[in-house]
């Protein structure tokens, strides 16, 4: 059943039945990125406009699946070391066991029901003028303490991996699909380009237990606002990106698309309000553009040496993450509204800790901040 809001919005956002044929020639010959939705032309905002003039145009969200230990990174709790080996009940904080957090703090039976406090596994010290306490594993990030914001006011009532989805949709996987943050942003603000999806997903999302496809879904906002997953491998960025055995030339594809748009519009005269037809016409136009725009965007071979170094593209430990970060940067430079990076998997446990923290800290985010080269408008 179609939702009233979506139909109205799609109707206003689209001028008629797509632009196949009409604008194709212009698009084919256009260089660079065209910003369609400038600050005054945001035609697709529900309700007519943003509440205030936004400074940010794009978002790159790096989601480290499984997460790092907050108490050993940016939310250091020295008291854990002080009371190590004791149960919570034996500390001055025993009262927390009587609160709604009890099921988190009381120990998870399926994980061995551990109830004793473990000491911090790394040292820590304060950094910058703000005096941010950071675990020693993350000393590299600590050096930019004055340039980052650590948010420490979040908590959850869930005691397991499923809580991860709360970041993307505000809901637990058992509450099923709800629009993700990226979908909301694109639904509300519209696309800034015609060659790439408005919402791109890089890396492997959390497993189905913890969100899976829900992490980038659009749910009732409509399928066209969901994230599009891309690989960072230039040979295979997404399935069927090129005609099998190069059976079709670009010119043939363009003339096929032009006829297809014509026929779809002719057949659609009886269904002027069909959101699926509009979405399909749009998806064909975008798919055609993506055949050239996606391989171009993820081709990092022509990035200069200093950028490769900056991102850690040549380091064995940092390469996989660096590729995603640099592709994300190239995507927003080309007008993609929202890029969701997923990296890693599973919690950071025991022996993995130091290696994982090294991979993260030596890769991009630190260096962007460190050298003030952040062209990201986060």
């Amino acid at each position: 059943m179609s939702c009233k809001g979506i139909t109205r919005r799609s109707f206003l956002a689209d001028t008629g039945m797509g632009f196949t044929g009409l604008a194709l020639g212009a698009i084919l010959h256009r260089d660079g990125v065209r910003i369609r939705a400038d600050s005054t032309g945001l035609q697709s905002v529900p309700g007519g406009g943003p509440h205030f003039e936004p400074r940010a145009k794009s978002v790159i969200w790096i989601f480290l699946c499984g997460g790092v230990s907050h108490v050993e990174s940016f939310d250091v709790k020295p008291e854990l070391t002080k009371y190590a080996g004791k149960s919570i009940a034996e500390t001055p904080y025993a009262s927390v066991l009587a609160t709604e957090h009890a099921n988190v703090l009381g120990g998870n039976p399926s994980h061995g029901n551990r109830k004793n406090i473990m000491a911090l596994q790394t040292g820590h010290r304060q950094y910058g003028q703000c005096g941010l306490a950071v675990g020693d594993w993350f000393s590299h990030i600590g050096q930019c303490a004055d340039d980052i914001a650590a948010v420490r006011l979040l908590w959850t009532i869930h005691n397991d991996h499923g809580a991860q989805l709360t970041w993307q949709t505000g809901r637990h996987p058992r509450e099923l699909e709800h629009p993700s943050l990226g979908a909301w942003a694109c639904y509300g603000l519209g696309s800034m380009n015609e060659n790439l999806p408005e919402f791109v997903v890089l890396g492997v999302p959390t497993g189905d237990c913890c969100g899976g496809a829900f992490t980038y879904g659009a749910s009732h906002l409509g399928p066209e606002h969901g994230g599009v997953r891309l690989n960072t491998d230039p040979a295979n960025p997404l399935p069927f990106i090129r005609p099998h055995e190069a059976a079709l030339s670009a010119e043939e594809q363009a003339s096929n698309l032009s006829l297809l748009g014509k026929l779809n519009r002719l057949a659609g005269i009886d269904y002027p309000d069909d959101p699926q037809l509009r979405a399909r016409i749009k998806s064909y136009e975008l798919a055609f553009q993506m055949q050239t725009s996606v391989p171009e965007t993820i081709d990092l071979s022509r990035e200069p040496a200093h950028v490769r170094r900056l991102y850690g593209l040549d380091g064995q430990d940092t390469k996989a993450f660096a590729e995603k970060c640099l592709v994300a940067r190239r995507l927003v430079e080309r007008g993609v509204r929202f890029v969701q990076i997923f990296h890693g998997g599973g919690g950071v446990v025991n022996g993995m800790r130091i290696r994982a923290s090294r991979r993260i800290t030596r890769s991009c985010p630190v260096r962007w901040i460190n050298r003030s080269q952040a062209c990201f408008r986060i």
Binding site: P239, P243, H244, S283, Q291
Partner: protein, 193 residues
């Protein structure tokens, strides 16, 4: 058709909140693949037998129901058309995404089948372009083309792109192959009204 809008009702309830007509919907993933094979006369209707490796989805002619579907063993083509996840009670969430356009426009399956059907219709129509277009519409979309559709297709068949491609000696698709491919990508091909 039950989904065709009625002017009076459309004015009263444009979003069909009161279900005065059928909402259009997209074919399920398996039906998209089966239909590709069926309209080109290539669907193997054999029943039973062991399951078929999911990697053979683009080359096998068997019905999609016989393709293996298990965790990490799902056909990419079917997944793109929202084949249900194997561990979520087989709930379907139909989407409209550019990957579907790429799968129907660029895949080995769609390209091969469009060539097969175009070759067969070519023999049947004896070089009559109008007849070719009519037959192609009947086979792929199960209806006659309107006058405007027929005209657009005939113009396509004799467009300069054909000449350019043929003189270049390309061993790729011919214009009639392209026309069938376009119809396989038509909104009506995947839409149930």
């Amino acid at each position: 058709m039950a989904s065709t809008p009625d002017d009076a009702n459309l004015a009263l309830d444009p979003d069909n909140q009161f279900l005065w007509r059928m909402n259009s919907r997209r074919l399920e993933a398996e039906a998209v693949r089966d239909n590709l094979l069926h309209v080109t006369g290539m669907l193997d209707l054999a029943t039973g037998g062991p399951d078929i490796d999911h990697k053979l989805a683009l080359s096998s002619r068997r019905r999609s129901i016989y393709l293996r579907t298990a965790a990490e063993k799902q056909s990419e083509f079917l997944q793109i058309f929202d084949e249900p996840s194997v561990n979520e009670c087989y709930q379907r969430r139909p989407s409209v995404v550019p990957q579907q356009a790429l799968a129907l426009g660029n895949s080995e399956l769609a390209l091969k089948l469009s060539r097969i059907l175009a070759g067969r219709l070519e023999r049947e129509c004896g070089g009559d372009q109008v007849r070719f277009v009519t037959l192609a519409f009947r086979w792929v979309l199960a209806r006659q083309p309107t006058a405007a559709e027929s005209e657009a297709c005939v113009r396509f068949l004799s467009s300069p792109a054909t000449v350019a491609h043929e003189t270049a000696g390309g061993r790729g698709s011919r214009m009639i192959d392209n026309l069938v491919l376009v119809l396989l990508n038509h909104n009506d091909f995947v839409t149930v009204r």
